[in-house]
Symmetry: C2
Subunit: 280 residues, 2 copies
Amino acid sequence: MKKRLPFNERLNALILKKSSFLCVGLDPDMEKIPAHLKYEKNPVDLFLREIVSATKDHVIAYKANLAFFECEGNNGLQALHNLASIIPQDILLILDGKRGDIENTATKYAHTYFDQMGAHAVTVNPYMGYDAVKPFIEYADKGTFVLALTSNRGSEDFQYLQIGTEPLFQYIAKRVQVWNKSNNCGLVVGARDIEELKILRRILPDMPFLIPGVGAQGGDLKQIMAYGRDRAGTGMLVNIGRSIIFAGTGKDFAKKVSEATRSYVNEMADMMHTSWDYIK
Amino acid sequence: MKKRLPFNERLNALILKKSSFLCVGLDPDMEKIPAHLKYEKNPVDLFLREIVSATKDHVIAYKANLAFFECEGNNGLQALHNLASIIPQDILLILDGKRGDIENTATKYAHTYFDQMGAHAVTVNPYMGYDAVKPFIEYADKGTFVLALTSNRGSEDFQYLQIGTEPLFQYIAKRVQVWNKSNNCGLVVGARDIEELKILRRILPDMPFLIPGVGAQGGDLKQIMAYGRDRAGTGMLVNIGRSIIFAGTGKDFAKKVSEATRSYVNEMADMMHTSWDYIK
């Protein structure tokens, strides 16, 4: 049997191979999908097949937002179970549910996402501490992205609280570093605050960052390219959701989606070799 | 149309009416259900119907742990959608998913749980701040229990961090008090640390507490009865899961479940009038 790479090694190898940092956010909001798909048997599934087909040449990962699947009942559940088989083998599937619960419950979530749904990685919430995260990171070839600094306004409510000399999200980030014995932990780091992104990167030069908040949420791709990568120039996924998957609404939506994707990836590739000087 | 009570008023009226604080935790772990049910068409659904039937005369609420439903695929989803109709009208359904995400995503979760699944309340994770909680508390007649202090060992990792002069969970509890404009917010307060339960009750004399950790997790019911209630003697749900729903494994399991339930409720009723002196 082929030895499985630790998740973070696999991620970084893919980034180097494709010269891309793009993670496409799959938030299949049925109110926003092209009208002609809405009357099909399973619009969620069909929409996602089209999105994957239009983007797959350029992406490192897909991040499926579980809320938008749960909301669609049986169709959503079916589409979620199909995702792993729709996505090409060299692309990662991240299930974004931000779960966090006591150990016996977290074990169930991990089993569902990794074993049943074939996810390669998940997002988790750290509030309940190590034993709520452990059942996920025990899968060494699977990735666990722990929320550190999120991209929403509410991130200011608790994540910046001072713990001694540092904000809570930095304290948590350092704990995740300690948990990262199998080289399969990462952090969710929002694109809203570039200064904080710089600090986290300085503290954790090798840990993968999953960075939401670009596109519809307004984060600056150029700055992220400059400051978000690890010291090998890899270790980063830039999640772009709505501004790719809802780039078109007509029957030609797949073409629009493909164009939007290429535009982002080209922008990343252009900056891949120039801007990285910033953090040296 | 009948005016809907704020959730917390409705909860407290039910507690007074039934002289019970019991919330039965529905964690339908298929490895632990009675063997004779495993070969039925939908064992999750059938098991839960039996549990509800055996316990309903004594409970204030059922708390369904979403991980155990997700894990069962279509059967789990079906059982979850059926729950609201299985449960009698004067009993509350709490969906325990501990969700927390950016506003557009939290809005989807709230819609799924409250509008589609007919839940009366949910649990949520506060780490992402107010806008991750707001879509839930905007349903004034529905309850939102925010994690403050949890019952697992990992609660020590972050929840006790000092924020100025108080631990993080107290700081969060006070924020939830500020969010509680519609009288529909509550807190999850684990049964592990009675001293902290006392402090929280002193700070927040009127807010409902959902208290997990009794039964399989070892919390002390007597102490909880003494220190967990609000100043009107209500405002508390004591969640007991595994030690009720898995009280029996044979064909007579429903009888065992019913006995275990009555034993807990009698214990509560006995203490209802005697022990409460402690907090006066």
